[in-house]
C-alpha cells in the first residue's frame, strides 16, 4: 500500500513557472517600453531640430516662424523649485523625524505619524488647489504677481515633506533600535548620541530619503502647473513666474502637433533622464533606496 499514487502534475508547476515568468518579463519590460516609446516620439524633434538647439534657441516659441525650442528656462525652473523645496523640506523633515523618534511623547509621535501619512496620500492636485486659492493671493499681496517660483517652492516643500519625514524616520528608527542601548550604556547625552551615533549610522537611509524626495519634487506636475504662473521665460527672481518642464508638457500636449509635440516628448525624455541620474546617484552613493 506504499505506492504514492499518481503524483499530482508537475505540469502544473511548470505552467505556474512559465506564466509567472512571462508576467515578470512583461513587468520588467514596461519601463523599457516607456523609455523607448518616449524616445521614438521625441526622435523627429531630436533629428530635425538637433539636441543643441534645445538649449541654445532664443526661447520657447514652438509656434513661431521659425519655431524656437529652448527648454533651458523650464529646466532651470524645475531645478530651482526642486532645490528650494529640498532646502526647506530636507531639514524640516529630518528634524520632524528626529522629533518622532527622540523627543515626542508616544501619543504625540503616533498622532504626528498619522498626520504625515495622511499628508503623504493627499493628491498633488489638492496641494495645488490650496496653493492657488490660499497661498498665491497671500504672496500676491506682498510681491505681485504671486504665482511664482517662490509659490512653487513653498507648495512643493509641503508636498515632499511627508516623504522626507517618513523615509528619514524609517532610517533613524531602523538604526536607533540597535544602537540606542549601547549609546545609553556609554552615557552619551541625547544630542550627543543623535549627532554622534544615530545620524551617521542612518546615513544610507537618510541619503535615500533625500534623493527619493528629490525625484518626487522634480517630477511633480499638477501643483507646479497651478501655482508657478507658467510663463516660459528664464526666471530672474524668486518672485518671478516660471514654468517647469513638467508643467510645460501638461500645458501644451493638448494642442501640440508634429515637431512641437515631439519637442514636448524631448522634455519628457530630459525629465526621465534627470530622475534616472538621481536613481543612479543614489545607488552609487550606496543609499538605501526605498519607494512607496
Amino acid at each position: 500500500m506504499s505506492t504514492p499514487g499518481r503524483s499530482s502534475p508537475p505540469d502544473g508547476d511548470a505552467a505556474l513557472r512559465a506564466v509567472t515568468g512571462l508576467a515578470a518579463r512583461l513587468s520588467g519590460t514596461v519601463v523599457v517600453g516607456i523609455a523607448l516609446f518616449v524616445l521614438w516620439q521625441a526622435w523627429p524633434a531630436l533629428q530635425a531640430v538637433g539636441p543643441l538647439r534645445f538649449v541654445t534657441d532664443a526661447g520657447w516659441h514652438p509656434l513661431a516662424q521659425p519655431a524656437q525650442f529652448n527648454l533651458l528656462p523650464m529646466l532651470v525652473a524645475s531645478v530651482a523649485v526642486t532645490l528650494g523645496a529640498m532646502l526647506l523640506a530636507g531639514p524640516l523633515g529630518l528634524f520632524t523625524a528626529i522629533f518622532m523618534t527622540d523627543y515626542a511623547p508616544p501619543a504625540l509621535a503616533r498622532l504626528l505619524r498619522g498626520v504625515v501619512e495622511l499628508l503623504a496620500g493627499v493628491p498633488s492636485v489638492v496641494y495645488g488647489l490650496w496653493g492657488l486659492v490660499t497661498l498665491v493671493p497671500l504672496l500676491a499681496a506682498w510681491q505681485p504677481p504671486g504665482a511664482s517660483l517662490l509659490a512653487g517652492i513653498l507648495v512643493l516643500a509641503l508636498m515632499i515633506l511627508p516623504t522626507m519625514v517618513l523615509a528619514s524616520h524609517a532610517a533613524i528608527a531602523g538604526v536607533a533600535a540597535e544602537h540606542r542601548l549601547t549609546v545609553a550604556a556609554l552615557g552619551f547625552s541625547c544630542a550627543g548620541s543623535l549627532w554622534g551615533v544615530l545620524l551617521p549610522a542612518a546615513r544610507a537611509g537618510l541619503c535615500g530619503a533625500l534623493l527619493l524626495s528629490t525625484t518626487r519634487a522634480l517630477g511633480e506636475t499638477m501643483a507646479m502647473l497651478m501655482v508657478t504662473g507658467n510663463v516660459a521665460r528664464m526666471p530672474d527672481s524668486l518672485f518671478a513666474p516660471a514654468r517647469t518642464l513638467t508643467a510645460n508638457i501638461a500645458l501644451e500636449l493638448a494642442y501640440a502637433m508634429d515637431r512641437h509635440r515631439a519637442a514636448l516628448f524631448v522634455g519628457g525624455l530630459l525629465l526621465t533622464a534627470l530622475v534616472l541620474a538621481l536613481v543612479r546617484l543614489a545607488r552609487g552613493l550606496g543609499c538605501a533606496w526605498r519607494h512607496a
Binding site: M1, S2, P4, G5, S7, S8, P10
Partner: protein, 270 residues
C-alpha cells in the same frame, strides 16, 4: 573507490539492503565548503544518529537527502548520493517523488497554519489519494501512531498552531508518516521539547526499527545511544564539516576509534 575499503563503513553485521549511500558528498554555500567528502552507507530499516558540534554540517547533510538544498540560494552539492540505488542529485530526477519517499522533521515544529485535519489531508490529497475515506483512515492511523489521536480527536478542525510544542512536533511526524515514506530525516526533533514529549518521540522511533530508515540529528548523546543502532560523528576539520567516524552505536560509544570522537563522547570536546 570501492565503499568497502572505507573505514567509516565498517559494520559488524551483514547489511541487509542499502537504503542510502553517500560518496564524497560535499556541500558548498556560495562557494564555501560547509561539508566535505562524506562517505556513508545506511542500511534499510536502521536508525542512524548523527552527532557532533553545531555548525559541522549535520543539517546540510540531511538537506541533501531530500534536496532541501535546492531551496537555498547559492547552495551547491557535489559527489553522489543514492537512495535505494537511485541517484538523488541529478537534475532530471523527480524532486516531488523523492520528497514523497523521504519525510523530514525539523528542529522547530512547522505545522501548516491550517486545521489539524488539513495538515494531513492537504499532502494526502496532493499524493493523489482521491477517496475521502482512505484519507480519513490514513489520518487516523498516523495520529494513532504518534499517540496524538486521543488528544486531538474532538478538535481535528481546530488550528494546528493552537497545539502545544510537543503536540505540534508529533503532528509534524504524523504528517510525515501518513505519507508512508521510506526514509525519515529528523533534525534535532526534540531540542525544543520537554523530557516527557522527548520520551514520547523516542518511543516512536523505537517502534520504527525495520519499518523506516531513520536519520536523526541530536545533541543529546544519551538519546543517540538510546534510539540508534548506528552513529555517525561529524566534526569540523579545516573550516568544513566532515564525517570522522561511523559505526554501530554500542561499539562507537564503548571504543571510539577517532580521538575527537573519544573526547566528544566523553564530554571533553564539542
Amino acid at each position: 573507490m570501492s565503499i568497502h575499503s572505507l573505514p567509516t563503513t565498517t559494520c559488524a553485521e551483514p547489511v541487509p539492503q542499502t537504503a542510502l549511500q553517500a560518496l564524497d558528498l560535499t556541500v558548498r554555500y556560495r562557494g564555501r565548503a560547509a561539508l566535505r567528502g562524506v562517505n556513508l552507507t545506511v542500511a534499510d530499516g536502521s536508525v542512524t544518529a548523527l552527532i557532533g558540534p553545531s555548525g559541522c554540517g549535520k543539517t546540510s547533510f540531511l538537506n541533501c537527502i531530500n534536496r532541501m538544498t535546492d531551496l537555498i540560494a547559492g547552495c551547491e552539492v557535489s559527489g553522489t548520493l543514492s537512495l535505494f540505488g537511485e541517484d538523488v542529485l541529478t537534475d532530471g530526477s523527480n524532486l516531488l517523488a523523492l520528497r514523497r519517499r523521504v519525510g523530514m522533521i525539523f528542529q522547530r515544529a512547522n505545522p501548516f497554519p491550517l486545521s489539524i485535519r488539513r495538515n494531513l489531508d492537504l499532502p494526502l490529497r496532493e499524493y493523489g489519494i482521491r477517496s475521502a475515506s482512505e484519507r480519513a483512515g490514513r489520518l487516523e492511523q498516523a495520529l494513532r501512531d504518534v499517540g496524538l489521536w486521543r488528544e486531538v480527536i474532538d478538535r481535528l478542525d481546530d488550528p494546528a498552531l493552537a497545539l502545544s510544542g510537543g503536540q505540534r512536533q508529533r503532528l509534524c511526524i504524523a504528517r510525515a508518516i501518513a505519507l508512508e515514506p521510506q526514509v525519515l530525516l529528523m533534525d534535532e526533533p526534540c531540542s525544543g521539547l520537554d523530557p516527557h514529549a522527548t520520551a514520547a518521540i523516542e518511543d516512536l522511533i523505537h517502534g520504527w526499527h525495520g519499518r523506516y530508515t531513520v536519520l536523526i540529528v541530536t545533541h543529546n548523546l544519551a538519546q543517540a545511544r538510546r534510539v540508534s543502532d548506528h552513529t555517525a560523528v561529524f566534526w569540523l576539520q579545516d573550516g568544513a564539516g566532515t564525517l570522522v567516524e561511523h559505526g554501530p552505536t554500542g561499539a562507537l560509544f564503548a571504543a571510539p576509534r577517532h580521538p575527537v570522537t573519544a573526547d566528544y563522547v566523553a564530554g571533553r570536546a564539542g
